[in-house]
Symmetry: C2
Subunit: 413 residues, 2 copies
């Protein structure tokens, strides 16, 4: 047992801070869009830390970076992989993704420095374009790595700035030479901030993430009839805006009766003609519906369909839906989730089984191998924002749980 080993608190926190200074503009805002100059500088820093830890650096075609610790005794075995991403949204915090990458390097260095001899190689991965801000879709690097999207298609993606991802990766020196998926992990573990308020609200330092919500995005269009707001009696109205409002309240009712597993959000809305004294002829809005159970998510989509149909009949409006995104939920590996729980317990840390509400590289890696995630609290649940914050204590705790989980995973067999 290596339970006496612990990561170097100071080095971990300093590096998070150091990477967090790369890509700041004159006003101090942090932005490292994938394959940009700032992303290059961030990647260079991470590669340097990997080299300092004595890792072999491999970059694949889609620009995913892997730092590999193997030995002649274990190199024939499938590796244990950890990892996350270092690309950011615009005006980001310092922790999203970066924490998992830096803690992964720190974890390997701690094991190496501690004289630990793993039965399998240990690899830390940095996945390209998790955020999807500049190029769509998000989680692209891990999706390509897991075989869900072809390399050629991904590299040909045109960005919001009309650049081509493949050319930009070449330009910054991170168009690699290995076929994605060249290493098939024995297991994958991603350490990440929660990006939600649950752990912070219950003051629990460790989340043992057992699944990841399925995501159903639709655009709903209601067509009614524009009429004068003063002269049209209530009974003769075909108010597209009212129908939209009914759907929003229906979705909240759906969540309320789901025993807290379903979340639903109407984030975008538009009325036409959008005039104060005209009944809306058209309402367009988005529905973001999430549930960690595929059957339930599907049932709820059907419930929504049924409600929309009734609404159309009752209010004389025409309702159509357009599918934008549909991801099935991911169930993580029960053995690894239990390892996270027991590792936390052995460190004297409370843990909570939970669902990842956000999309993650781990959800793509789960297609390849047993996978799970470790969450640490996000204060007030804030993420994708400069106010994103997790205490040093919790960041260190999470990294030590990662250390223990990975060393246990390398002991098996």
């Amino acid at each position: 047992m290596q339970s006496k080993l612990s990561i170097n608190d100071e080095r971990l926190l300093n590096r998070i801070n150091e990477l967090g200074q790369i890509g700041r503009d004159k006003e101090g805002k942090l932005t490292r869009l994938v394959a940009s100059d700032t992303d290059k500088f961030g990647r260079d820093a991470v590669v340097k830390w990997m080299k300092d830890a004595g890792l072999e650096i491999v970059v694949d075609y889609i620009g995913n970076i892997f730092g590999i610790w193997s030995s002649s005794e274990n190199e024939s075995k499938d590796p244990i992989m950890v990892g996350s991403h270092i690309d950011t949204v615009i005006n980001a915090g310092m922790l999203d993704g970066c924490y998992g990458v830096i803690a992964g390097i720190e974890m390997i260095k701690t094991l190496k420095d501690g004289g630990y001899k793993p039965s399998r190689p240990i690899v830390v991965g940095v996945f390209t374009n998790e955020e999807g801000v500049r190029y769509s879709p998000d989680m692209m690097g891990s999706l390509v790595y897991a075989g869900g999207l072809s390399v050629d298609e991904a590299l040909a993606t045109v960005g919001t700035d009309d650049t081509i991802l493949g050319e930009e990766l070449k330009r910054i020196g991170y168009a690699g030479t290995k076929e994605p998926g060249f290493l098939k992990p024995h297991a994958f573990v991603e350490l990440h901030i929660e990006q939600g308020p649950i752990l912070d609200s219950i003051k629990t330092p460790i989340g043992a993430v057992e699944n990841l919500q399925g995501i159903s995005w639709q655009r709903v269009t209601v067509e009614g009839v524009a009429n004068h707001a003063g002269t049209t009696p209530t009974a003769m109205r075909k108010d597209a805006g009212l129908a939209a409002a009914k759907v929003i309240t229906f979705l909240r009712d759906l969540c309320n009766k789901s025993n807290a597993t379903t979340v639903a959000t109407v984030g975008c809305i538009e009325f036409e003609p959008n005039a104060i004294n005209v009944i809306p002829s058209r309402a367009t809005f988005t529905v973001d519906l999430r549930n960690p159970n595929e059957q339930k998510l599907h049932e709820e989509e059907l419930e929504l369909d049924k409600y929309l149909k009734e609404l159309g009949e009752n209010y004389g409006v025409k309702i159509s839906t357009e599918r934008l995104v549909r991801f099935e939920p991911v169930t993580f590996d029960e053995n690894i989730v239990q390892l996270v729980e027991s590792a936390a317990k052995e460190r004297g840390l409370e843990s909570k089984r939970m669902t990842s509400g956000a999309g993650q590289d781990a959800q793509m890696m789960a297609r390849m191998c047993p996978t799970a995630m470790i969450f640490v609290p996000s204060v007030d649940g804030i993420s994708h924002n400069p106010k994103e914050f997790t205490s040093g204590y919790n960041l260190v705790a999470g990294a030590n749980v990662l250390l223990d989980v990975i060393s246990k995973l390398t002991e098996y067999k």
Copy 2:
């Protein structure tokens, strides 16, 4: 009794059509914004028809045009006035306002040609800027005439095209020389298309308009907290968009329990940040609430306030309101309304007592003298639109009812 007199159907309908051709663009769209070149051409046509009918033309400072039929026997008495407007919205129909003006001229010409000797002068008025599209507020000419807005303030109004109303009226030759209000009518009657669907839906040719809705316009702002659509549990959400939806459905419930007297419309809405996977931090929307009874309208405004307060407490959002417009309802003169009903009956026409849902010049004139309105059906309730339509039969019927009502009003005393 002059009940044998009837207006000249062909001349009425031809003139409506003729005025409706003035101000069409290359695509055939009809637009006569107040004090524009096309408004001038429309005014010129109307003045010519007034002169043909032997009327004295007077234009006041705000550009209202009056065609006066008086004699040495009746000129000392307060006149009976009819009238409406000929300015239009952009891409308008041919009837809104114009019908009342042309029918007024036709009514006087019919009485004159029939040898009728009224006990009072009869006047047809054309009010400046009823639509309020180019200069605000709407119903400006009648408001100034009734003393609700000073001439100087009105003439100084800056338009959406940065022009000044007073200068534009001069430019088109309709800056007149009389003080608005120079004639105090004994009574005022406005004939107008309904601009709503009620008469058309019950196939009733005449509306005896007994009152005009009070109008309450507010802008409501809900401030919640933006959070991730996936990671934020339902119970921890402060969803500004949900609160907005609750208000929209509350308003419909309010209307449903009002026994059809209240109408409410949320015509404009905006969410921030308006992103599919972010809970809205802010929702802004307008409330258009109308009721013909001032006490009820006030009570409903208080009910809305109370609901907003509860909503804020229950959903953890901050709600503020901004008053945009508030007009008290207008109750028209019961005697004139009864005259409209009896005149319709004598012509064998069904009539219905009703409320004007739209603002009208008559609501301003009601400040000066006993006033009422006559409505004719708008097919499908459509107005402010090229599809605005009333059958020739109904247009003629309305003009004949106007003829009978005015001749009865001039018989009294």
